[in-house]
Symmetry: C2
Subunit: 110 residues, 2 copies
């Protein structure tokens, strides 16, 4: 009884939050924009788009990779990055669903 505070977050909310978090930095948005439009995606090209050190760029790329939004492929001596289209569409669907939630009541704030 009382209040069940064993509550966890839903898988969907966790996943959406993970995508959102990955997008939660202007450098990473810039990277994603770049990769989504142009596909000529070597590390160096990405680095050139950004006002930050390569070590930092590498870290941002790793985060995007970990979130599943991009993927990298070694093409010696360069590394080619691109959008992970499958997860990209998944993310898109998550955000779409999220924003299209309809109100069930209208009894709040004005």
């Amino acid at each position: 009884m009382e209040n069940d505070k064993n509550k966890e977050y839903s898988i969907d909310n966790e996943q959406l939050a993970r995508f959102a978090k990955a997008m939660g930095h202007p450098a990473r948005i810039t990277i994603l924009n770049f990769l989504a439009s142009l596909d000529s995606c070597y590390f160096g090209d990405i680095h050139n788009e950004l006002p930050i050190a390569k070590a930092t760029v590498s870290q941002h790329l790793k985060e995007l990779k970990d979130a599943g939004l991009i993927q990298g492929e070694i093409e010696t001596p360069k590394v080619k990055y691109c959008i992970n289209r499958e997860n990209w569409e998944k993310a898109q669907a998550y955000f779409e669903t999220f924003f299209s939630l309809k109100k069930e009541k209208t009894t709040c704030c004005s």
Copy 2:
């Protein structure tokens, strides 16, 4: 010459990142989902949806407010929260634009 490293991020990328960052936590996604669907949005109701202390809930609400995604209104002795519909739609538009970016070339990773 050389490389112009005075580059900054675009306003749009900054704004989208700000929205995304605000959404980058499952508690905040849960709050937004709750507020977007049901509108009976007192602090206590929100707190009940979440497995965290009220102080922490209050902080998350503050972040969402700072990002412009929600708004609060005192209704003594309670506080009523709701989606900031104007910015909500703005955010929606930002994400939509972001995800609908079309490729210009297709020369990457397989």
